[in-house]
Symmetry: C2
Subunit: 141 residues, 2 copies
DNA sequence: ATCATTTAGTTACCTAGGGTAACTGAAATG
DNA sequence: CATTTCAGTTACCCTAGGTAACTAAATGAT
């Protein structure tokens, strides 16, 4: 079987475009949503924690968080270490989380409608395996 | 089951980064590779044909093709309709196709090594279904 | 035949998104 | 107390793609 990656990659743009379309109703993009999701599920975090968790560089998170603070979705709280910027969701942020989460879940249901549960599960579990394999092959230089 | 799209999207960056790393040995990127692959499998084509096939806008293909012509991977051939730009792979392009194809196939094998064939197949067949479903939901405005 | 319309391609401009390097200020190390 | 490490930001770079406006060529319709 060949062309797995090709098919995988071809699906990216339609999916991300649809999600960003959905998110644009709330003034955010999918990449910012990742931060919202993180804060909801992991609680208040520093930018470095968020960056590490999602394997992106610090400036990427600085930018996403700046936008979310401008939108009043996220706010800074003070900690002991004054180097750190600890952020959490505002009430607005919590509300947005819930509506967007609902929208995404519904979209997910609609576009997986005709796919049997066990097949979804197989694919769902393949993704992290591929990710692991990529990481392992990177370790070998 | 929830978070399918999340997992799907999270895998995109590692994969595309690895592929672009691989392609950079030949001076191309994955998005340009798509054009090379198209020409190899569909033969000489116009830019509009390529754009339509991959569901991107014309300027996107103009840019990819410009780069590939600069690299001597692709060349223009003349047709009757002087509006059209018909392009095909050069000999260099053919050679690059073969080596890159080999590299991709090998990478694909390595990162799917521990995934049973039937599981790969399930995932492989899910992708176009999701794509179809997205298109159908777009038709409903 | 000619004029309007459609089509192929290009250009200019804008956007999202992310990486790297260099920096600041604060904490930790020793 | 000096050096090093760490968190975050800034400036600059890149890829990638979309939209709108345009040119030139081909179609179509009168």
């Amino acid at each position: 079987m060949e062309g797995f990656l090709q098919r995988f990659l071809a699906l990216y743009r339609p999916v991300i475009t649809r999600l960003n379309e959905l998110m644009s109703n709330y003034g955010i993009t999918y990449s910012q949503w990742i931060v919202i999701y993180h804060l909801k599920h992991r609680g208040a975090s520093t930018l470095v924690e968020i960056a590490a968790r999602h394997e992106v560089e610090k400036p990427t998170i600085t930018r996403r968080v700046k936008k979310l603070m401008d939108l009043g979705i996220v706010e800074q709280i003070l900690g002991n270490d004054k180097r750190e910027k600890i952020i959490q969701l505002t009430d607005t942020g919590e509300n947005i989380y819930h509506v967007v989460r609902k929208d995404i879940t519904e979209l997910e249901f609609r576009i997986m409608d005709n796919i049997p549960e066990h097949e979804r599960k197989v694919a769902y579990e393949i993704f992290p395996k591929i990710d692991d394999n990529l990481k392992k092959e990177k370790e070998l230089y």
